[in-house]
């Protein structure tokens, strides 16, 4: 398809009938239409789309654009003669399509092949146009500058995906998806209504309740099992404690025995120390038995002498009392009296006699008594000491034996053992109570489950419809899912097809290609530029670079769209209409694009502002421009006039 002309009659700010002829020459196929902002560039785009696809389409595409009828015309003539006529060549045949404004938004439309009659009217005409250039695909040929921004903006995946899906031309699938979604929604809605009718908030609630009860019963049963295990554990612990306590009773007895032995031992040792002291004391007088021979010899000597052994005081007392020791009286001058007096004289005359007497009596006493006593005592004490040694040794041996046996017992605190035992008993008591409680709860829960089962049984009879609706809804949702996957597969295939084309065009358009290695259209439909380091460069792309990327995508889409044209339009030329495409580009990319774009499109219609085409860009396009216009907006008339430059 190539656009030959467009005639606007009283359309928006175009008053009267004004025609723009587009360049169709193969060498000079570029049409440039200049116009400042508000001059009416976009209105021509709208007019083209309105003519071919109708009011609804342009409202969807351009948003609410307001009145289509020229306000100036309305003010002046209040007429309804508003129309747009588009002439084009399709498969080497010339056509023209005309849409007329009737009233209150209604239009009439016809398509006529030049030289042939009759024309196609309204729906028939629209169907024909749809076959030639489907409106979904047309957006890739007739686009405005805003769109150039859109595709390369961050997070524009959805727009890109939409564009790709749009070009798939698989309306049946899309309609199927929409339909199934609606059907599944309807079934679900109906199902919800039906569920609300169920007794006691419906079968599902009963099922949920039953599940909850079963869960509770399971938990209670688990808890009972757990508590029983705990009881068994506590009982085992008590057994262990009892064993330990018994062992400790034996050890206590041993300890008691040891205490007694220790006490006895201490007594023996104490006695022994006393005995040893006694031995020491006796041994200190050991010289007395040793002196026995000396004493015996001395006594022998003294015996052989006439040694008086009567003490002087006794003799003095006898003389004083004049009585004998036996009681007989001593008469003066009697023989007894003279003997006593003689003895007394001997004594008083010799100190030696006294000493002799003392020594004699001492030796006799010591020899007869002390020697024997000391020896006997010593012997007996030594014997006692030996006995004590034996006892001590025996008791000490016992203590060692007890100590050995006690070592075999674990030394534990009986009180703490008893406390532990009490704790175990309390635990068991507590667990048993819990088990009893849980078992009662289990019974209650089982009863409740039975009741719910009964309720479910009753509810189930009325739930057949619910089940059916559920099944339908499930099927609808499943098919919907399948359709979505099929759609996604188509989209994925298309993505793979578009990706290399975008890359190719981008490389042609970009002015510093050496910085970029590749362009990718990611699986989630994000346009990505890969830099020479293999990293995604999109975040660092300048606004101009993003526009170039977006433009590359649009041009790629147009190329693919052309291939997707019905009736095998693979070799059919196609136009590209660009509304203010260079608005955000700097001079450098503009130069590059203006040099490249004419080679990509078979027909190029550019709407540009007064500043968009610089000298260099203009120079690039010069040789390709076939037609050139200027849109002059008349402030006074509030109307745009089209003036021809070339």
């Amino acid at each position: 398809m190539k656009l030959n002309y467009i005639t606007l009659k009283n359309f928006r700010q175009y008053c009267g009938e004004q025609t723009i002829h587009f360049a169709i020459n193969n060498e000079r196929h570029v049409t440039v239409i200049h116009g400042v902002n508000g001059a009416g560039k976009t209105s021509i785009c709208i007019a083209l789309n309105w003519c071919l696809y109708g009011t609804e389409f342009i409202n969807n595409k351009f948003g609410q654009i307001g009145e289509l009828v020229s306000k100036h015309l309305v003010a002046r003539i209040a007429g309804d003669d508003t129309s747009v006529k588009v002439g084009f060549t399709y498969q080497d045949e010339e056509y023209f399509a005309e849409r007329k404004y009737v009233r209150q938004g209604k239009t009439s439309f016809f398509l006529k092949k030049v030289g042939a009659t009759p024309p196609y009217l309204d729906e028939d005409a629209e169907d024909r146009i749809q076959l030639m250039i489907p409106k979904e695909i047309s957006v890739h040929f007739f686009f405005d500058g805003e769109k150039i921004n859109n595709f390369a903006l961050p997070e524009s995946n959805e727009e890109v995906r939409h564009a790709v899906c749009n070009i798939l031309n698989i309306e049946a699938v899309e309609r199927g998806i929409q339909h199934l979604e609606k059907v599944a929604g309807n079934y679900n809605s109906e199902l919800n209504k039906e569920l609300k009718k169920q007794p006691e908030s419906g079968l599902q609630i009963l099922q949920n309740k039953k599940e909850e009860l079963k869960k509770r019963r399971r938990k209670l049963t688990e808890s009972v099992t757990e508590k029983r295990q705990e009881i068994a554990k506590a009982k085992k612990q008590i057994e262990d404690i009892d064993e330990e306590l018994e062992a400790n009773i034996a050890s206590q007895e041993l300890a008691e025995n040891r205490k007694n032995i220790e006490e006895k031992l201490n007594q023996f040792k104490h006695t022994k120390s006393q005995v040893e002291e006694r031995i020491r004391e006796l041994a200190n007088h050991g010289y007395i038995p040793i002196a026995k021979p000396v004493m015996d010899k001395a006594l022998e000597i003294l015996k052989n002498r006439d040694i008086l052994t009567i003490p002087e005081p006794l003799l003095q007392e006898l003389l004083k009392q004049m009585h004998c020791l036996c009681g007989r009286p001593i008469n003066p001058d009697s023989q007894e009296h003279q003997t006593v007096q003689s003895l007394l004289r001997k004594i008083t005359s010799s100190k030696l006699t006294t000493v002799l007497s003392e020594v004699f009596s001492d030796l006799k006493y010591v020899s007869l008594s002390r020697v024997s006593d000391i020896s006997k005592d010593l012997k007996s004490t030594l014997s006692d000491n030996q006995e004590l040694d034996r006892k001590i040794a025996s008791h000490e041996a016992n203590l060692i034996e007890i100590a050995k046996r006690l070592k075999n017992f674990n030394q534990v605190d009986i009180r703490s053992l008893q406390n532990d035992r009490d704790k175990c008993q309390r635990k068991i008591g507590g667990y048993e109570k819990e088990i009893q409680h849980n078992q009662e709860e289990i019974k209650k829960t089982a009863k409740a489950i039975n009741e719910v089962n009964e309720e479910i049984r009753i509810a189930s009879t009325s739930s057949d419809k619910v089940e059916r609706l559920k099944r339908y809804a499930d099927i609808a949702e499943q098919v919907f899912g399948v359709m979505k996957r099929i759609h996604a597969l188509f989209a994925e295939n298309m993505r793979k097809k578009i990706e290399p084309i975008v890359e190719d065009i981008f490389k042609q358009l970009v002015w510093k290609s050496s910085s970029f290695q590749n362009v990718q259209l990611s699986p989630d439909f994000e346009l990505q530029v890969i830099d020479k380091f293999g990293e995604q460069a999109k975040p660092e792309l300048s606004a101009g670079e993003r526009q170039v990327l977006s433009l590359a995508f649009i041009l790629a889409m147009a190329q693919v769209a052309a291939e997707k044209m019905p009736l095998n339009m693979v070799n059919e030329p196609y136009p590209i209409l660009m509304d203010t495409p260079f608005g955000k580009l700097s001079e450098e990319p503009r130069k590059n694009i203006t040099k490249t774009i004419p080679n990509i499109a078979d027909q190029l219609i550019l709407f540009v502002t007064d500043t968009e085409l610089g000298d260099e860009a203009r120079k690039n396009l010069n040789s390709r421009i076939g037609k050139e216009y200027n849109l002059q907006f008349d402030q006074e008339m509030s109307a745009t006039n089209v003036t021809t430059i070339l």
């Binding site: 031995i279 020491r280 038995p289 000597i301 020896s375």
Partner: protein
């Protein structure tokens, strides 16, 4: 035996040979352990009669006094024993009233007997009391031992 002599004019202190003084001290003095002898007097008397038993008298070379006669008189039988010893040694009845001679004789016997005590008791590291008992038993006359045995039977 020695012949009769006149009364000894010496003082009333009991002497030993200086060389044996440490033995006396070891056997009687200790701050930590109770020593086998209560007093130097008991050591002296045992040494005296051991010396007699051994029939050994050693004159003192370098005297040092260790206690007085009064200590002996606290127990009259001790004095009598020493008098008996002097009597037996001298066979002179007059010696009984001669304190100086009595002490001289006892000192010389003790000077010999202390050697045995030193060897058998003082030099022992442990249980000196039982060594003392053993020594006493060794020198106690057999008839006493026999009589004790008979008694026990």
């Amino acid at each position: 035996m020695k012949s009769k002599k006149k009364s000894n004019p010496r003082n009333n202190r009991i002497h030993i040979d200086k060389i044996h003084h440490p033995v006396y001290k070891v056997l009687t003095e200790s701050e930590e352990v109770k020593q086998p002898f209560d007093s130097m007097k008991n050591v002296f008397l045992l040494a005296t009669f051991l010396g007699y038993h051994q029939n050994k008298r050693l004159p003192l070379k370098d005297k040092v006094d260790i206690f007085s006669w009064d200590v002996l008189t606290r127990d009259e039988e001790n004095v009598s024993l020493l008098r008996a010893l002097a009597l037996v040694v001298t066979e002179d009845i007059e010696v009984l009233t001669d304190q100086g001679r009595i002490l001289d004789i006892a000192e010389e016997f003790a000077n010999a007997g202390i050697i045995e005590i030193n060897e058998k008791i003082a030099e022992m590291q442990e249980n000196k009391v039982m060594h003392m008992v053993s020594l006493v038993g060794e020198y106690t006359p057999d008839d006493i031992i026999l009589s004790l045995t008979e008694d026990s039977i």
